[in-house]
């Protein structure tokens, strides 16, 4: 696998959480991401889905090394990002960018749209003249559907969808090779979501980007992704090609997730079989032994409690971590 683009191997991010102790704290590791592996190819979109607390945002930030990894390898074009020092990391990030969930909060309120979009240029292309920089910013604004004459406006003067376009322009201005999209549309109105999703797909096609698309919305992930990774309590439940995952979900959790999404069609919505999960997400500080999903799983047996299932091939381009996927 020497031609690998992005390879993530057994990535772990644990946060020490103080759980007791009076003067000297006792700490328990919160395993936000616990042994995640995947590959990403150039021009490909990998959707990462899961519920809140499953570690999907942490995973995205760990790939960029905005959050340090506890263990594991994030190999980018053959270099392990986790082993780089601060300077090397800043240099490597030129090709790795991120789009955030909250469009307004991710823009500095005291900077103009133009300055915000130009910031990566200022850091990575310091030799550019002011006029060249402005030209690039205006071109990029036009590309993401903003009027270049709004270059001197401030974030609070834009609507949510436009703010997200500014965030996207900032991420794209260096023409990166990989962009992490952390719930980029979930704070937007329905009618604006579609615009932003289409914009991302256009940019991906034009620039040949790879996207790591993190979302809790399975319908949007279905639309945008080539492959989908299902996370639960920091572990991969299923990793499959889109078509396989949505047509024949193998993991009980994936099945439950898919059946839980409401469909905007009264007849279908009222007649479909819903797999209702019982209970809530267990505390990530104290995850179940064996398979982390077993406490809410209808198929759980004693085997699930004692042995952690490994990802295994369940079909063409479909890997599942479940002891009972064949049942």
């Amino acid at each position: 696998m020497s031609d690998a683009f992005l390879q993530v191997r057994d990535l772990k991010v644990h946060f020490p959480i103080r759980t007791g102790g009076i003067l000297i704290g006792e700490y328990t590791p919160l395993k936000a991401v616990d042994g995640v592996s995947f590959d990403l190819n150039p021009g490909e979109t990998l959707g990462v889905v899961g519920e809140s607390g499953c570690g999907k945002s942490t995973l995205g930030r760990a790939v960029l090394q905005l959050i340090g990894a506890t263990d594991g390898v994030v190999s980018w074009l053959g270099t392990d990002l986790t082993s780089l020092n601060k300077k090397e990391l800043i240099a490597a990030r030129e090709n790795l960018q991120i789009v955030f969930q909250d469009p307004l909060a991710s823009l500095d309120p005291r900077m103009t749209a133009g300055d915000i979009i130009a910031e990566p240029l200022r850091n990575y292309r310091p030799t550019l003249s002011k006029a060249e920089r402005r030209k690039m910013v205006e071109d990029m604004m036009e590309r993401v559907g903003l009027l270049p004459r709004m270059i001197n406006r401030y974030p609070h003067e834009f609507s949510g969808g436009q703010c997200q376009r500014i965030g996207i322009a900032r991420a794209m201005i260096l023409r990166p090779k990989l962009v992490i999209c952390d719930e980029p549309v979930s704070a937007l109105d329905v009618s604006i979501q579609a615009q932003v999703v289409n914009l991302l797909m256009d940019l991906q096609r034009d620039f040949g980007l790879a996207l790591l698309f993190i979302s809790h919305d399975l319908a949007i992930v279905r639309h945008i992704s080539h492959r989908v990774l299902v996370l639960y309590l920091g572990k991969v439940m299923e990793l499959a090609d889109k078509a396989a995952l949505y047509a024949t979900p193998r993991h009980p959790y994936t099945q439950a997730l898919l059946s839980a999404v409401p469909i905007p069609d009264p007849t279908k919505e009222r007649n479909k079989d819903r797999i209702l999960l019982t209970g809530d997400l267990p505390s990530p500080l104290n995850p179940p032994t064996g398979c982390v999903f077993r406490t809410r799983c209808g198929k759980a047996t004693e085997l699930c409690a004692s042995q952690t299932p490994e990802l295994e091939r369940a079909g063409d381009g479909q890997d599942v971590a479940c002891h009972h996927w064949k049942d």
Binding site: R93, M111, Y154
Partner: protein, 312 residues
């Protein structure tokens, strides 16, 4: 995770967010920054605007006025040598003090000192406080621990004790007093800035700046400092009167400016000794000082309302 497009419940504020449609139509290229917005709100606040004007006029009179007064603040009118009521023939428009010095000249000179102390000492506090607070807040960890424990220790040292020691070691020096007061006032400033920085640090735009390849120093300068500035400005306008008051207090105790130089605090101290005979010598500087403090506080309140983050 919420996918609700903004909570509508508190719509009052939400609705006032200017929005795209209006933008599309207005063809002007210039944006309106938060600073400009705040300034507009401040202009609408009459009390704050009047206070600002009064302060500017007062400061102007204090610094320019002495050139038009026939007597200087240290000159003793040997013909009088006692407190006299206002007399236009001798040129003592507000009378003289007990040594026969011109009261108007002394009040103007005292004003200069009070304003200077207020501004210089606060600037000292501002520079140290912002630097320490922003560094501690942004770096976190050990740097934060060390700096903040140092601040705690400084807080524990009694102010008077600190100033008296400084005076003893370095002698009585006009500028030393600015430094001494500044060194005391930066503590609170650093704590405020650190708190603001901590909340800012977790904002997504800081993370975005890191992802855009910004170094720590550039993030602090480009993103943290401009965003804490609003709070800092409010605190500065509220610190200036505190400092002026502190200087008056020191002068009242005899630790402040040395005669024949004077400040409003020192004038009040002198006047207080003779308030039964010539209440004028107490009331006039006291009115000047109170007006100044009052105006600074009003302006500070106005600025706080104008820069209030909840309107963002």
């Amino acid at each position: 995770m919420s996918d609700a497009p903004m909570n509508e419940r508190r719509s009052g504020a939400n609705l006032s967010v200017p929005n795209a449609d209006a933008l599309d139509k207005a063809a002007d290229v210039e944006g309106r920054s938060l600073w400009q917005d705040a300034f507009r709100r401040l202009q609408a606040n009459r009390a704050a605007m009047i206070s600002a004007i009064v302060l500017i006029v007062l400061a102007f009179i204090c610094f320019v006025g002495p050139a038009f007064v026939p007597w200087s603040y240290e000159e003793i009118d040997w013909d009088i040598l006692e407190a006299t009521p206002p007399n236009f023939e001798t040129g003592h428009y507000l009378g003289t003090d007990s040594l026969g010095r011109d009261l108007l000249a002394r009040i103007l000179q005292g004003g200069q000192v009070s304003f200077l102390v207020g501004i210089l000492a606060t600037s000292v506090a501002l520079v140290i406080g912002v630097a320490v607070g922003a560094t501690a807040g942004f770096m976190g960890g050990r740097v934060d621990q060390f700096l903040m424990r140092f601040v705690d220790v400084m807080y524990a040292v009694p102010l008077m004790f600190f100033i008296i020691i400084l005076m003893v070691v370095f002698g009585r020096n006009f500028y030393l007093m600015f430094l001494a007061i500044g060194f005391v006032e930066w503590l609170t400033m650093s704590r405020i800035v650190r708190g603001q920085t901590l909340t800012l640090k977790n904002k997504e735009f800081i993370e975005a700046a890191r992802a855009s390849g910004g170094s720590t120093a550039s993030i602090i300068l480009r993103h943290i400092v401009p965003n804490v500035l609003g709070v800092v400005i409010v605190y500065v306008t509220l610190t200036i009167p505190q400092v002026i008051l502190l200087e008056s207090f020191l002068s009242f105790l005899g630790l402040g400016v040395q005669p024949p130089m004077t400040s409003w605090g020192a004038l009040i101290a002198e006047g207080a000794q003779e308030m039964e005979i010539t209440p004028r010598t107490l009331i006039l500087p006291a009115v000047c000082l109170s007006t100044t403090l009052f105006c600074f506080n009003f302006l500070g309140d106005g600025l706080r309302d104008a820069l209030d983050p909840k309107d963002r």
